[in-house]
Amino acid sequence: MDISNYLYLSVILFTIGATGVLVRRNAIVIFMCIELMLNAANLALVTFSRVAGNLEGQVASFFTMVVAACEVVVGLAIIVTIYRSRRSASVDDASLLKN
Amino acid sequence: MNILSFVTLFPLLGVVALAFMPKTNTHQIKIVALGISIITMLLSFVMALKYKSPASGFAYVTSHPWVSSFHINYALGIDGLALVLILLTTVLVPIVVLGGWNESEGGRWSVKTFYMLILVLETFMIGVFAATDVFLFYVIFEAMLVPVYFLIGGFGTGERAAAALKFLLYSLFGGLLMLAAVIGIYIISAEQAIGSFDVTALSHLTIDHATQNWLFLGFFIAFAIKAPLWPFHTWLPGAAKAATPGTSILLLGVLDKVGTYGMIRFCLTLFPDATKTFAPYIIVLSVISVIYGAFLAIGQKNLNSLIAFTSISHFGFITLGIFAYTSQGLTGATFYMVNHGFSTAALFLVGGWMISRRKSAAIEDFGGLQRITPVMAWLFFVSGLSALALPGLSSFVCEFLVLLGTFTRYPVAAIIGTLGIVLAALYILILVQRTLHGPLKSGNESMTDLNLREKIAIAPVIAALVILGFYPKPALHVINPSTTSVMAQMNVTDPHVLAGK
């Protein structure tokens, strides 16, 4: 299989993620879309690692996973807190700060 | 420390002294402020007496590195142009302090703050004329706005906050344009030699024409706003209306002169080619200023804004003289700066006393003052005569020189400008008639005439107007070499005599 197909997949995933952030209201879902974008980037890293013939890309993807995990911790904490206060995880409800 | 630095920084000593005085002891604070400003004045007299016109460049030169990365120096030095303006400053400050003895009270802040601001301002005002480093000039040019802003906003009347803001925004806007030009000329100097802000060094640069034009405009617009020249003038009447008389005197008498001073010191000498390119247009603006300011003055209902518009008209004359770049024009314009300082000071002082006694600045509230307060009325009249440039008073000498100098290069402009002398008669005499003549208007009955302090405050101003009118030689003697050197730097000569010789 042509290696560029991996890239296409990566780009498509990234686009889905980026669009998902825009169209979904639920903070958790949005957050999942962002994770999807990170994973798309991971896929690209691994693919390029293959093309370049070195391991740097693969190592980077491990770092990414770890960082993503940290992000989950922090992110979920924030989302849960706000859910408790507002009884809603919709990001559109949280719009006190504006103008 | 040379005497110039000393004169410049001396008022700061007063600021320090005032800072340690208790707020409540207002009388003592005033005495100290007055004392400091008088000593500064005497020091500047000493400096003036020892002054000898330098063959080229500046006298009392001093220079210390300030920001070495950009070759910025604390560099001071004066020529005749700067000297007369410094003297104007040091003379006016004690007069303002004495004349406006009570105007610091009832402000938003304490009397102490008022005089600290005044003295800080004095240092800035002297420094701005003494600076020979463009950057230093720029810094002071901008920094001096801050004390004025607080003086207007904190101690003024009426729409003082808005007026102060408008003043500051206009000035800073101009200043920013100038900053771009300051940077530009510095970069050019860095390209041609070692970077420098020294005004003499900068005048030796060769700058291509297009760049000169842009840099010129950067400086010029800043100065035109400051001066102010039509159509950049709309901040002035509001500021004059809101400010205390003392502040107005310093604002119109000295601060605005920085604009016209800058035109000579920087626009003409640094960008001679651009000056020649733009001069005709600026002459047109100046003539408009002269006529427009006069008409607007006629149409004013408020005493202070009337004086402000007369100043716009007078500044038109000054820029006319500058951009005619003839000996008579330049010397006349410089001398005009000094005389306008005194003449405006006189008007604002007496006007201020009238307003504070009447508790109103509306012209229609006055009437028949000559019968009840003759001394005040007379002084107001004499101040008015100075504004309309009556021969025998110093303003005549300079106005005439300006017109004469302009005529030899731009006859049409001078002819139109001369209409200004008729309009000046109108705006002054209408004002005099409405306020001083006629039967006593109700509301004026309890006005009191000037007291001794007020008489002492205004006496030197009137004396200066009369003495310099009859015997302007000392001033002209000092100014002439500067004019010559400016014209030499511009590489221009006076127009030839058309016939006769």
Binding site: V21, L22, V23, R25, I30, V91, D92, S95, L97, K98, N99 | W230, H233, T234, Y292, F295, L296, I298, G299, Q300, S327, Q328, T331, Q370, R371, L390, P391, G392, F396, F400, L401, L403, L404, G405, F407, T408, P411, I415, T418, L419, I421, V422, L426, V432, Q433, L436, H437, G438, P439, Y471, P472, K473, L476, N480, D494, V497, L498, A499, G500, K501
Partner: protein, 629 residues
């Protein structure tokens, strides 16, 4: 050239005395008028002394100078504060100080009831100083200082009772009209400097022949404008009538004898300009001719004795101006008429003042009548002045006015006939209105207000009137005996240089003609005004109405200058706020509106923020791609 250190005192003494009286205030109330009068008298003494000295010199070296100090020295412009006393200026010095002294004396009595008499004398002395500077300055710029100085003094004196709003307005009007003239003088000086590089009389004279005719015409026209302002000539004449608001001695001194003749001095002094420019001369004679008729016509309709005299002054100065435009010999005749006029008109004004003094300051001649019996001295002195102004031989006016009429006829061609005709017509009208004045005031029935007790004035007032009357009688003969004045002025104005053309008609014919029209005018007036109503009739001809309104010059000024000016001012005030400041406000509002839009974009929804980011990203990628490709 000879120098004299005395000249400066002519100016310094009265100036000093004026300053002293003003600064000392009430302290000087008791003796101020005496000091002022003595000072003026002393300047007369100096004048006479200088005249004696000058007279003893040969004709070519009579001029005296005194350099005081460098006044203005900038570039090539060098103006000294220097004085020049020559044959021309000595005439003025003597007139100013002589008449001035008399009027000071008169004023001591006239103003004795005014609590501000000290101030009045201070102003008078200020005027004397400025007027002497005007005639003594050795350059146009020095002259200009005096020129505006007398304007100031005139302003102060017209508005001496400025608590009366009308008087205050009158003084303002006078100053502004004068300023219009001053504008002309300024421009003339500027052209002189641009042309010759100097503004001194000597320098300009030396260079005049090298200048272009356009430049000379320009200078001439501007000097004429200056003269029109100061000497109340058409079209700047309208202030003079209003100027009668000032105390009567002021009218006599400033607005009859001296200041208003400064225009004549200016043109005579600038003879080298006018001699070189026929265009300028033509303008001068036109202005002179128009004004002499204008003033005369106005004079016929005035009931206010002072205004009638003022109109007469205007007209008489018109004669002088006309004369100055008639070439070299005209200058001498102009000066001659100026001097004789100085005597008889000042005398008549003082007479009018004396009448007012006796009539509780009544100025309306319709309330006079039959005063000759009660005020014999006044009536006689006034009558002598009357004969002089009519030009009845051998009174002073005869010598001067006839010469002007004669010279006018001799100007040649149509011009000569027109000018001569105008001058002759003026003489007839003069006779008419002066006779009317005499008749209404001194003869006929009493039309006094109840409670008036007319009486003769005290000696202090009558003495100057008598002395001036002597002048009215004798001065013409003395000055023109053997063409004394013409010879005297010759070195200055070159008055004999021009070959006189073949006269249109012999001098005797002119004199007879003039006398004829005068008699006619006087007779007409006597018949018409034998009986006068004490109220001005309303059903008068359109000409009378026009004359009463000063021939609508004020109306014209209002319509052409004042009203458009007022509108323009109001318009500019609005423009300043709405257009210029409005533009700045517009920029501010525009920015604020943009700012509001940006605030709306910041809507608080996190997803729209993300959209903004994404949009920014996409645009950036495309842009970079396009630029890179």
């Amino acid at each position: 050239m000879r120098t004299s250190s005395l000249l400066v005192y002519l100016i310094a003494l009265p100036l000093f005395s004026s300053a002293l009286l003003l600064l000392l205030g009430r302290i000087a109330d008791k003796w101020g008028h005496i000091l002022a009068t003595l000072i003026t008298a002393s300047t007369f003494v100096i004048g006479v002394y200088e005249f004696m000295k000058m007279h003893s010199q040969p004709s070519g070296s009579r001029a005296v100078t005194q350099k005081l100090f460098d006044w203005i020295s900038v570039g090539t412009l060098k103006v000294d504060a220097a004085l020049l006393l020559d044959q021309l200026s000595i005439c003025f010095v003597l007139l100013i100080t002589g008449v001035g002294t008399l009027i000071h004396i008169y004023s001591i009595a006239y103003m004795s009831h005014d609590k501000d008499r000290r101030r009045f004398f201070a102003f008078l002395n200020l005027f004397i100083a400025a007027m002497l500077l005007l005639v003594l300055g050795d350059s146009y710029l020095n002259l200009y200082v005096g020129w505006e100085g007398v304007g100031l003094a005139s302003y102060l004196l017209i508005g001496f009772w400025n608590h009366n709003p009308t008087y205050a307005v009158a003084s303002k009007k006078a100053f502004v009209a004068n300023r219009v003239g001053d504008l002309g003088l300024s421009l003339a000086i500027m052209i002189c400097f641009a042309q010759f590089g100097t503004v001194s009389f000597a320098g300009v004279k030396a260079g005049a022949h090298g200048a272009s005719s356009a430049a000379l015409a320009g200078i001439g026209a501007m000097l004429l404008l200056a003269a029109c302002g100061k000497s109340a000539q058409f079209p700047l004449q309208s202030w003079l009538g209003d100027a009668m608001a000032g105390p009567t001695p002021v009218s006599a001194l400033i607005h009859a004898a001296t200041m208003v003749t400064a225009g004549v001095y200016l043109i005579s002094r600038s003879n080298f300009i006018f001699d070189a420019s026929s265009t300028a001369r033509l303008l001068v004679v036109i202005v002179g001719a128009i004004t002499l008729l204008f003033g005369a016509i106005i004079g016929t309709a005035k009931d206010d004795i002072k205004k009638a005299l003022a109109a007469s002054t205007m007209s008489q100065i018109g004669y002088m101006i006309l004369a100055t435009g008639l070439g070299p010999v005209g200058y001498a005749f102009a000066i001659l008429h100026l001097l004789t006029h100085g005597f008889f008109k000042a005398g008549m004004f003082l007479g009018a003042g004396s009448v007012m003094h006796g009539m509780d300051d009544e100025v309306n001649m319709r309330k006079y009548g039959g005063l000759a019996k009660l005020m014999p001295i006044t009536a006689v002195t006034f009558g002598l002045g009357y004969l002089a102004i009519l030009g009845v031989p051998p009174f002073a006016g005869f010598y001067s006015k006839d010469k002007i009429i004669e010279t006018a006829f001799n100007a040649g061609g149509i011009k000569g006939i027109l000018l001569g005709g105008a001058a002759l017509l003026g003489a007839a009208i003069t006779a008419f209105y002066m006779t009317r004045l005499m008749v209404m005031t001194f003869i006929g029935a009493k039309r006094w207000k109840a409670g008036s007790h007319p009486h003769e004035s005290p000696l202090l007032m009558t003495l100057p009137m008598i002395l001036l009357a002597v002048g009215s009688v004798a001065s013409g003969f003395l000055l023109s005996y053997g063409s004394a004045l013409v010879h005297w002025l010759q070195p200055v104005v070159n008055s004999q240089s021009m070959e006189e053309g073949k006269p249109l008609m012999p001098a005797l014919t002119v004199s007879l003609l003039a006398l004829g029209v005068v008699v006619l005018g006087a007779f007409f007036a006597i018949t018409k005004y034998r009986s006068v109503s004490d109220l001005a009739p309303e059903d008068v001809s359109i000409f009378t109405k026009a004359a009463r309104k000063d021939l609508y010059q004020d109306l014209l000024n209002d319509k052409v200058f004042v009203e458009p000016g007022t509108l323009l001012t109001a318009g500019l005030v609005k423009t300043d706020d709405r257009v210029i400041d409005g533009f700045v406000r517009f920029v501010g509002n525009f920015l604020a509106a943009t700012s509001d839009v940006l605030r709306k974009v910041q809507n608080g929804f996190v997803r729209s923020y993300a959209l903004l980011m994404l949009a920014g990203l996409v645009i950036t990628v495309i842009a970079v791609w396009v630029i890179g490709a």
